[in-house]
Amino acid sequence: MRGADGALLEVRDLKVEFRTRDGVAHAVNGVSYEVDAGETLAVLGESGSGKSVTAQAVMGILDTPPGKVTGGRILFQGRDLLTLKEEERRRIRGAGMAMIFQDALSALNPVISVGDQLGEMFVVHRGMSKKDARGKAVELMERVRIPAAAQRVRDYPHQFSGGMRQRIMIAMALALEPALIIADEPTTALDVTVQAQVMDLLAELQREYHMGLILITHDLGVVADVADRIAVMYAGKIVESAPVRDIYKAPAHPYTRGLLDSIPRLDQKGHQLYAIKGLPPNLMHIPPGCSFHPRCPMARDVCRTDEPPLYEVSGTRGSACHFWRECLDDLDDLDG
């Protein structure tokens, strides 16, 4: 694995549980990743994989209770966020790291004009006057290319289209020029043509500000378009982590491989889709050993008993599969 010195964000062995009426759901079970400035890390997973919960824990916006961080460290610019006081964490939110949500309509307050919502960031964090903050809001709206920003600054969220609202969300996240942006399914609710506009904007702004970006998504297409590295999550763990090109060329975990084979391709047609059998596990009863073994076509006895660590596949990639070598080798059979 690559060295983690000086990473912008470093998550180490993070564990999160949810205590519910029916039992304890193990949402995140020892997740480690790091993000550098200017880098895009895609966290890929299906619903219930723990990808959003990890991000919420990093941001410090986990619903507590029922959620609780039960272990691990979150180092942001060298400081462990989990040991900070809530007051200090709040100062980091917005100024140090910011989040973009999937549903911009519900993430924006419907009864406050977008200009005031954008300006509030400057009033609260920078102590600006309302008038100066309004000017800043217009500037930000121009930066995310909202047409006629000066006139629209007084409009309310519902008066904007879905794509424009997501731009406002991005503007809000960028307001204080944070070092890290976490985008949780930022384009899932948008149409493809708008999705492309928004992703392009986000990538461009990231380059401009040299920010770290964590992109949480289930869409393998979006990941291929923008990510530098990928962490694939399953049942609260990272099962594979690699540079983006490697993973699409030769996945080293059967789950990643199943996902790649199960999506229909725009440029190809024909054979039946591969379908990963079964369902993702219930987080209250995660299977012992490798949590993917009940759905895995390669599972053997050892997978039922021994939990695989994240094996080092090469200097830059890791796979949590006992048989990652076979997984890589099999690919030749598939192509041949």
Binding site: V192, T193, A224, R265, D267
Partner: protein
């Protein structure tokens, strides 16, 4: 996938389909002040055993088309002929009879099953409504058979929907749709609410059932990759109209309408190697409101090729003049005055 040419006898023939929802003002004396033109002149045919995919972005009217096909809404104008008979004018017994033949699969597996009915009651309800479809004593066996067909344990008849996952619920919805042995199934975004790994399971199931039960599908979705996978022919909708329609390879590999080209170019392809080579057409602005549709070509406000003619003249959905005498894949119906071929999806590597 069964392949049928569009020359075969159509099972469904849609002509000039229009659905406008009036916008009114006033409490007591309602005055119409406009209309939401959700569907504004749609024509297509569906051959027996064929899958017609309809793609488009939200608000293009594709879900309204689904509702109209299933007679859940009455069209403002136009006709839907099922085996030659116009079903939009039917009512009472005749309507009930035709419903047996056209069934729907819904998008949201969480709201499409009544949470207070057992799975057995849900799948068996079609037989309660159409008692002639199955003798009473035979119904339970048929319900269990249907569960088996869609890949669920027949023992589950006494369970309630909330005990199943999204993918399993979608299978229950499909079983209900199959109960009356319909000839046409209209599926409105049947997999968009499901996880990636479960989507493939449901698509494969629909594929298999098509050949097993000799079904014709109208498959409505926003995901262009899934539509290509399952469809024999594809229609692209924009603002209430089909702007381009043809066989899947014609649309995906040889699109001639600028909207189709932009749509296809915007789809992220799961291949990082392709990301530098691809040319993306980024459309400017948003889709106009369906209450206020632009004159002439409805796409002209976002089109980079728009000219004076596009403002004045509505382009017809037909094979464009430039391709009329060719027999290549570009010679398919496209509603554009300036249609030209442009490859936007990277060529297959095989």
């Amino acid at each position: 996938m069964t392949s049928t040419t569009s020359t075969a006898e159509p099972i469904l023939e849609v002509t000039g389909l229009v659905k406008h929802y009036p916008l009114t003002r006033g409490i007591l004396f309602k005055k119409q002040i406009g209309a939401v033109k959700a569907v504004d002149g749609v024509d297509f045919t569906l051959a027996r055993g064929e899958t017609l995919g309809i793609v488009g972005e939200s608000g293009c009217g594709k879900s309204t088309v689904a509702k109209l096909l299933c007679n859940l809404e009455r069209p403002t104008a136009g006709s839907i002929r099922f085996k030659g008979e116009d079903i939009t004018k039917l009512s009472g017994k005749a309507l009930k009879a035709v419903r047996r033949n056209i069934q729907m699969v819904f998008q949201d597996p969480y709201t499409s099953l009544n949470p207070r009915m057992t799975v057995g009651d849900i799948i068996g309800e079609p037989y309660d409504i159409h008692p002639e479809a199955a003798p009473k004593g035979d119904r339970r066996r048929r319900v269990q058979e249907l569960l088996d067909v869609v890949g669920l344990d027949p023992e589950y008849v006494n369970r309630y929907p909330h005990q199943f996952s999204g993918g399993q619920r979608q299978r229950i919805g499909i079983a209900r749709g199959l109960a009356l042995r319909p000839e046409v199934i209209v599926a409105d975004e049947p997999v968009s609410a499901l996880d990636v790994s479960v989507q493939a399971q449901v698509i494969n199931l629909m594929d298999r059932l098509q050949s097993e039960f000799d079904l014709s599908y109208v498959f409505i979705a926003h995901d262009l990759s899934i539509v290509r996978h399952i469809s024999d022919r594809v229609g692209v909708m924009y603002l209430g109209r089909i702007v381009e329609i043809g066989r899947d390879a014609e649309i995906y590999d040889h699109p001639t309408h600028p909207y189709t080209q932009a749509l296809l170019s915007a789809v992220p392809v799961p291949d990082p190697e392709a990301r530098e080579q691809r040319e993306r057409i980024i459309l400017s602005g948003d889709v106009p409101s369906p209450t206020n549709i632009p004159s002439g070509c409805r796409f002209r406000t976002r089109c980079w090729k728009a000219q004076e003619r596009c403002v004045r003249e509505v382009p017809a959905l037909a094979v464009p003049a430039v391709f009329r005498d060719t027999s290549g894949p570009a010679a398919h119906a496209s509603a554009c005055h300036f249609a030209e071929e442009k490859q936007v999806v990277p060529a297959e590597d095989s």
